[in-house]
Amino acid sequence: MIEAIELLTSASLWAAVLRIATPLIFGVLGALLCERAGVLNLGIEGIMTMGAMVGWLAVFLGADLWTGLLIAAASGALMGLLHATLTVPLGLSQHVSGLGITLFASALAYYLYRLIVEVGQTPPTIEPFRPLDLGPLTDIPFLGPVLFGQAAPTYLALLAVAIMAYVLARTPMGLAIRMTGENPHAVEAQGLNPIRIRILSVMAGSALMALGGAFLTTAAFNSFFPRWCRGGAGSASRSSSSRRGVRARRSSARSSSRSSTPTSSGSRRWWRACPTSSS
């Protein structure tokens, strides 16, 4: 009991809570934007994985951390464009298309990562965002490390919440986006183009999701794990991560039945050693 209270009142716990909440904030903002524009984006899991891989890879190949985030957002927007093209002008099922995007984007991310990066027993790392040091503010007991000792993208996420709230509720653009979600015919009657609004909203939302993914690899952790284990990307993340297990198991089962198969099981073992928490 005492231990539990000590744990709950420790600054490091709440600092970690806010840190791990950041990718969720980005992802949720993106999903919210798509949903408000009337498009269900089930591709969020794959888009976040894509953003995580692309952002990490850009930094790994020598880009600036912020440039990495930007490139990740661009990759997310590209996936969003694919999803929007399938669902909005072509009118395909948003559920199936979204699941297809999830499968496609996460598989492509893992594939490119495997192809480009040389992976040994431990995954290669980058120099991630450092926690900010705001001087006297950080020295405040408890509140200092929790609120003022985070990495810069965390504040970007909190700022993005305010911006999103303002844009959606107070600007003509936000009104158009919300109206597109609720009554596209009214949008058309107003002389606006609901198809264009939906496509752009899904692209912007997907860029935000990819930012959330990129935060995982450039700030919360410092490496990209194929089979991203944590539920960092949300409750849906179990699905795409768990399928790798069978493949690995299947190939290891086969390698035990045959004589020698050097590549598969050995190089994959470190996946199991994914971090369960970053602290």
Binding site: S93, L103, Y110, G245, R249, A253
Partner: protein, 85 residues
């Protein structure tokens, strides 16, 4: 269970999601399911063998299957249109 002989925490292998792909590839027709599942299984098993033989990451299987799903979606849409001359 029939495949591995054990129960583990990673038991749910994402077959449900593969099932969605198979269903769409079969154009939601019962008879097509056999052909579609054989196709998907061929890609998965083949990717493992290919990855051992040539070092291509076996994730390529997922890429191919997902691409097949998206392509099939669009193709199914196009079958509902007719080209007029």
């Amino acid at each position: 269970m029939g495949v591995t002989g054990t129960v583990t925490t990673t038991m749910s292998p994402g077959f449900g999601y593969a099932g969605i792909v198979v269903a769409m590839l079969a154009a939601l027709h019962p008879a097509g399911v056999i052909a579609a599942s054989v196709f998907v299984a061929t890609v998965f098993v083949g990717a493992d063998a290919m990855s051992r033989a040539t070092g291509v990451p076996s994730f390529i299987a997922d890429v191919i299957v997902a691409l097949a799903l998206l392509t099939m979606l669009v193709a199914l849409l196009f079958t509902s249109y007719r080209i007029r001359r």
